[in-house]
Symmetry: C2
Subunit: 135 residues, 2 copies
């Protein structure tokens, strides 16, 4: 059941048919899941070279520096891949106020499913999105 990909030191990342790889962003200090995005080869390379988390926007079809508008940039402390090398984990430390989410919250994962609807488990906003994105 082990493959050539999972016990090797050789980096053989498997980007999908669109040239993208899922990137799971976690807090390097406490492990909190912060956000989920995609990288293409360029976003990964720029992140590795600059140490600043960059992604690929599927909507805008451009390379995107996390925090370029909000100031909520993230230093990429380390980058891991999974057993079959088709997902990345980006361990980061916040350089702004610590809000990974565009809503101003620390994490994009602030609601849980309860009885068919969503219950807010984090409502603390570290910035005001109406102010940050409309100035």
């Amino acid at each position: 059941m082990t493959s050539a990909l999972d016990e090797t030191k050789a980096l053989q990342l498997r980007f999908d048919e669109k040239g993208l790889i899922p990137a799971i962003v976690t807090d390097a200090r406490d492990g909190t899941l912060l956000m989920f995005a995609y990288m293409n080869r360029e976003a990964l390379d720029v992140t590795l070279v600059t140490g600043q988390a960059h992604f690929y926007s599927r909507t805008r079809k451009v390379l995107w520096k996390k925090g370029e508008t909000s100031g909520e940039t993230f230093a990429a402390v380390s980058i891991l891949t999974d057993c079959d090398q088709d997902v990345l984990q980006i361990k980061v430390t916040a350089e702004g106020q610590g809000a990974a989410c565009h809503t101003g919250r620390k994490s994009c994962f602030y609601r849980k499913i309860v009885n068919g609807e969503l219950e807010f488990i984090d409502n603390e906003k570290l910035f005001d999105p109406d102010f940050v994105y409309e100035k």
Copy 2:
């Protein structure tokens, strides 16, 4: 910048064009990122009803109960979604020996990228994959 999706209690999950949604599995106790998979509507429903983590195998094109072969099943303690409701976080507790990865490791993310190759940061195997998958 806020949308109808991110400040609502209404569950409006956005499955992709293949009917899938990315599912990030984390340890409910310590927050560790364990694995990444996909769910379709059925996998989510079965997980919600049974409390056991199920996913959709894109390779085998079937509903898949995590741990059905290895015994490494996971109870889904809570299920969260992100701001734009197109990703899930599944918080789980291990019911087997605590190996989420088919290689026998706790997490699928056990190697980090260093100077263009992979460095193992976790080599502890909680089960022997050659024994577990070939019996």
